[in-house]
């Protein structure tokens, strides 16, 4: 009798069993995501490195070479896989679009938080949310039918090129940068504003000399986030940039980015061939850049946290 009672009392209850089950299942779900991330990095890296290890292309040639033509071998007997045109294209459109988008985004964010919070919440907020919701192919299609003909008639050439890509990316990253800047501005304590105004500063002096300074780390994070988005955007850019693997000579000459070459190329090459491996190396560059953007965001966050 005693033994039986002891057994009954020491046995795990149904609720405790369920608890363990639930905890482990939800932990497994979390681990699944984590493992996936590492799998993505490992797989893309192993495919991307095979250009250098199994096809023996030198890494320096890959990064600095100006000719992209993987099926042709050059004078040194090496395949022509110079990725510089694509890397340059990606960086140029990213930086240009961030340069154009930043004043707009920060201006709109200041308007929404400092100048007219009511109108900001009523009009600008929904506008920004709608802009986020428009799919990237639609941006690409509008770029193709509106922006490309426009640049063609304004600047000559085919209309495809860095300029059109920048215009499309500008509209695409604008909402991301704006809404993150708004968060950064809202995080500035109210007494900063009150103190500045009490000292007799005008509204603009308060904004420019106090609030913007205090929100700088958050703003920088927003801009880097926007740049990361622009760098990784594929289809919208691919549709308007012209897809010529050449070093861009002007803003209106056809160019290409890492993503545009990937989207057009992967389907036309055979798995395991050098042409295919070279494309995976481009994907690896893309992945590494995305990791670097992530790191930069973290560093900014840490610096910003310390200065408070």
């Amino acid at each position: 009798m005693n033994n039986q009672l002891k057994k009954q009392l020491l046995k795990r209850s149904k609720a405790a069993k369920l608890e363990r089950l639930g905890k482990s299942v939800s932990f497994l779900a979390l681990m699944l995501i984590t493992v996936t991330v590492f799998a993505i990095i490992i797989f893309v890296a192993s495919k991307g490195f095979s250009t250098f290890f199994s096809n023996h292309v030198s890494f320096v040639d890959f990064i600095t070479g100006k000719n992209w033509n993987p099926s042709v071998t050059n004078a040194k007997g090496q395949p022509e896989v110079g990725a510089l045109p694509m890397i340059a294209g990606s960086f140029i459109v990213t930086i240009l679009s961030a340069l154009v988008a930043t004043p707009f985004a920060i201006g709109a964010a200041i308007f929404m938080t400092e100048i007219s919070p009511q109108r900001g919440a009523k009009i600008l907020q929904p506008v920004i949310e709608l802009l986020v919701g428009i799919p990237s192919v639609v941006y690409g299609f509008i770029g193709l039918t509106v922006i490309v003909p426009l640049t063609r008639s304004l600047f000559g050439g085919s209309g495809f090129g860095i300029l059109s890509g920048t215009c499309v990316l500008f509209v695409m990253i604008l909402p991301t940068v704006t809404s993150m800047s708004v968060d950064a501005l809202r995080a500035v304590p109210r007494y900063y504003r009150e103190a500045a105004l009490a000292l007799g500063a005008t509204q603009w002096q308060t904004i420019y000399k106090v609030i913007l300074r205090a929100a700088t780390p958050g703003m920088l994070t927003a801009i880097v986030f926007g740049m990361a988005r622009a760098f990784g955007e594929a289809l919208a850019v691919q549709m308007v940039i012209g897809n010529a693997a050449l070093l861009p000579t002007s803003l209106v000459s056809p160019a290409s980015t890492l993503t545009s070459v990937l989207t057009t190329g992967i389907g036309n090459t055979v798995m395991g061939s050098l042409q295919n491996n070279a494309l995976w190396s481009l994907a690896l560059v893309l992945l590494v850049m995305s990791l670097i953007f992530n790191l930069v965001i973290r560093l900014i966050g840490r610096k910003g946290a310390m200065s408070k």
């Binding site: 979390l30 428009i134 299609f141 289809l235 953007f293």
Partner: protein
Amino acid sequence: MNPKLSNRIAISVLYVISGTIIVILAALLGYIIISGLPAINWHFLTSPARAFTSGGGIGIQLFNSFYLLILTMLISFPIALGAGIYLNEYAKQNWVTALVRTAIEILSSLPSVVVGLFGFLIFVVQFDFGFSILSGAFALTFFNLPLLTRSIEEALAAVPNAQREGGLALGLSKWETVTHIIVPAALPAILTGVILSAGRIFGEAAALIFTAGQSAPALNFADWNPFNMTSPLNPMRPAETLAVHIWKINSEGIMPDAKAISSGSSAVLVISVLAFNLLARFVGKRLFKRLTAS
């Protein structure tokens, strides 16, 4: 320049900037809707696409988009829910949690092309699923998981701690508290997150061109046996979605009315995404009212 003047100039510049953004959106939406609406009719929405002649529709692409969306949600929602619950309710502040959070952040910032290529490598090539809805759904799951997990975690975190304490004080286990009290309390916010991510999935194309494929074979809408090749429910068939269709006909389409079809498809896509956003707001508010006393 005196401070008052510069103040006035700066504020007018800010007004101009905000106005410009509103004009950009109005022009974008206006262009999409005005150029797209004339192309949309019942025939366009239901008939299959044609490769060489005009008069094709987007029926199969539209169905594929919705089917893919549902499959992706079926796969990703349980995983995201589990992960969100663990992160918010169980996870301790240690290096494992920090690592997991970093991983999720990395996944959410990965370019969707890279996610698509990984899906291509793993599901299309290694697992030999081919270009199929299933490969596409897995790729979209990776694409969707980080954001969905984060929104679920935030929804759970917004539930006041008194609810947890109340559950535990009644003698419920932690898991029972979570499933019977916390998740129902967070349900409106969770649902809003789900619907918003549905809008993102619906418009995604870059992750799909190498996983779900770029072709839309004819379907027999009378055949609902998922094992038949022409059945709409077959998850192993290649399936071009609406977003991929727009990209495809603009880069290599040769039908004479490619522009009208892309305008119509863009309008359908944008209207659907807007509908998702409105639905998210409406459902969130409605559920919140019904489930709470406020």
